[in-house]
Symmetry: C2
Subunit: 453 residues, 2 copies
């Protein structure tokens, strides 16, 4: 059975990015229809399983403010002001993100999705249909085909289409097939499993809810997010094979030995950790990008459909929300020329998102490897000092990424120059001797003077 | 909201093993309730994605015959009489499974599941509830808790429970927690992706529908199953990382180069192969086993919940169906003593299934590595000759596994002796010179005489 529908603007996918975009469009006066492949979460709650806690930073908040969702989202977030580094011997060290008390915000994927869905439902200019899986679009005929409940196919003649159908997007697949475009997809050698630590198990430094908890172990890494209900979610990142890997931890005693040697504080926190570990398969992480992102004035990709990031920089959702912000700006400024608007959107976002994909991959090293290195702490101190001395000239990478909306491409260029400066400073005898004081500040100021503003 | 139900016998999970067991129990006069976590496939068809084609062999057919399902299942199967080995240069060689025209049968997981579900629905002694997710059982109170639609929890006071809830079984998790049992779970270094080749692309040797198609490439392997509709499903098995791996194939041009060098016949068969490859994440493969399998006279695990196998031997479903056969035999022969019945079932199946888990892992090597070796073909010829000369004394491993119901433990013991015999024969000058004829038969007969019957 087939039915045909005419529609102004269609958003495919009602994850956080799809919902946010629908709200932004509706506020600018568009009539929006949203199609989502999953069942209505009011009817069938999402099953437990794969979902790293989402992280909201400045780019994300900026977009949420534009639809007045920031206050409600704030209610379901836990602010994190820095990283708590757990050593294998139980000692902990807190590293604030900035000296200005900046925070990133941790939220559950399900709660954020449901909250934005409720706002979508409440908006009179948006209609949403669940249980509708989008097939590859008909680009020549400018039609979408959606497979609904009971095998009913709906054909939609949409004026404009925005595809937010995720990292394994079917719309993207059709777009690339139609254009013979280019596509890149890298599976991370790191997989992850999520463990839940109950509120009762969080004592001592583990109970500090203002920090992202980190067990950096080089070949593998554990990351703990405080949850709103007082519990914590710990993600174990490991390769599939090798000495320290998911394939090497085959029995509970082997896992217990591993936890005892690498994060004894965590093992003590939850008696069910070992059962939890084996209760679900590990999940894969993927980076992906493609070109084109658009089809004429008709269709554009947004969010994970256009660019998937590994989670180490916490920017996946933020980059997706920023797509929406930029897309709306391009539409506003184009004076009704949608093709020009989408072209500008594509040009801006492809370069920026390809950059943040690489920054996210590189950040594993900062979290898991360099975080253990005493010299890295010296470097971090220098960064912080330079930032305090001249915040216009020097801003640490993570601060630019998380606490500004500076384009990612600009972040990378500035970072390259800043790294060279830090390399030079790290070789200086006074720094090597870990001196502090006015003469060290003078050294840093000399270097800062050479950085372009 | 909670409601409580009293029930005679409960089966958790309506995959092929759960459905088969429900039918077997119902035929012996039990009143059965089946709980399945997925929605009713009549209402919501299964999404496309992960499912290697299932393989039915003698152990599977034996169980299907016991519920008169064999004729109907036969209708949805494609018989495969041997392996078609594809070389990188396009040449093909057909290796029959036996000289007796034995076949294994390929079926789609979805079609087999749906067919058995229809039989379950039609049986007056079985009731089935979809959308019910089983939580960890209450072993002390002998109660199951099931999370239904709208968050309603059903508590079931069941007389007996059989858990067929799959490789990531929640019931098993509870059982091991309650007993402090032992558990083993190995992730295979091989992951897989499935590709679909349309009927129109299957020409030449690729079109031969009576064979499992094999591209053995050592570090990786492709396996093609003919489907009922004339198309084929090709599974690509590869490690996640390394030189030939999923992580190394990041763009369509890289994949095309790989396919051109390793299986050019396949690349020519489907223009969409490259898009297909990147359209879904690769899936993980897992081996797992545990003890105990039972709780007193109340609960037993069956199928993947008790033992997960890698697919290289095509025995996962067959071993699961054999669990059901043996379980029913144990119940029949126990004269009402269910604890004795379940103990016997556990004792028989744990040893056999732990054996077939290992045999399945080892079989990757036979398919992907040794299948390319000319000396291996000599060995295969010797095996076949020995089997013809004295089928009581010598039966090739795959023949025992696929075309008999000999216990897996016995298969392994016999195989060890047979391998030693083949090792000795392979060193003989006449064999090394690849001679055939009466004097070679005499050599084989001498060796056969030394094998215990």
């Amino acid at each position: 059975m087939t039915r045909t529908v005419a529609a102004q603007t269609v958003v495919v996918g009602a994850g956080p990015v799809g919902s946010l975009l629908a709200l932004l469009l509706a506020r600018r006066g568009h009539q929006v229809i949203v199609y989502e492949s999953r069942p209505d979460p009011r009817r069938l709650p999402a099953p437990p399983g794969r979902s790293i806690n989402l992280t909201l930073a400045e780019r994300g908040w900026h977009a949420l403010r534009a639809v007045d969702a920031d206050a409600a989202v704030h209610e379901i977030c836990v602010p994190l002001y820095g990283r708590m580094i757990h050593s294998p011997y139980g000692a902990c060290a807190f590293q604030p993100y900035t000296s200005r008390h900046d925070a990133i915000y941790s939220a559950s994927r399900t709660e954020l999705t449901d909250l934005l869905l409720e706002m979508v439902r409440a908006h009179p200019a948006v209609r949403i249909h669940f249980d509708h899986r989008c097939l590859e679009p008909d680009f020549a005929g400018r039609r979408l085909h959606l497979l609904g409940p009971g095998g009913v196919t709906t054909t939609v003649a949409a004026r404009h289409v925005f595809a937010a159908d995720g990292a394994w997007s079917t719309v993207r697949r059709g777009l690339l097939r139609a254009h013979g475009g280019s596509f890149f997809q890298r599976l991370s050698p790191m997989l992850y499993r999520e463990l839940r630590v109950p509120r009762s198990g969080l004592t001592g430094d583990l109970a500090r809810r203002e920090a992202l908890h980190l067990w950096p172990r080089g070949q593998c890494m554990l990351v703990g997010f405080p949850n709103l209900d007082g519990s914590a979610t710990v993600s174990v990142f490991m390769p599939l094979t090798g000495e320290e890997s998911f394939a090497a931890l085959t029995t509970p005693p082997e896992l217990t030995r591993f936890l005892l040697s690498e994060c004894p504080d965590l093992l003590a926190a939850s008696p069910a950790l070992v059962e939890d570990f084996f209760a679900r398969p590990p999940s894969l992480l993927v980076s992906s990008s493609c070109r084109p992102w658009i089809h004429e004035d008709w269709l554009a990709l947004v969010g994970d459909a256009a660019h998937a990031l590994v989670p180490f920089l916490g920017q996946g959702l933020n980059a997706g929300f920023e797509d929406c912000t930029v897309l709306l700006e391009c539409i506003e400024e184009s004076g009704g020329d949608w093709h020009a608007a989408l072209r500008r959107y594509e040009q801006d976002r492809t370069a920026n998102c390809e950059t943040v994909i690489q920054l996210a991959e590189q950040h594993y090293d900062e979290l898991a490897v360099r975080a253990r290195d005493p010299l890295f702490r010296v470097r971090k101190w220098l960064e912080d000092r330079a930032y305090r001395l001249d915040p216009d000239r020097f801003v640490p990478l993570y601060t630019m990424v998380a606490f500004s909306r500076r384009p990612y491409t600009e972040v990378r260029c500035r970072q390259a120059r800043q790294e060279e400066m830090l390399d030079r400073l790290m070789k200086h005898p006074a720094i090597r001797a870990r001196e502090v004081g006015g003469h060290v500040d003078a050294l840093i100021r000399d270097e800062l003077a050479q950085l372009a503003g």
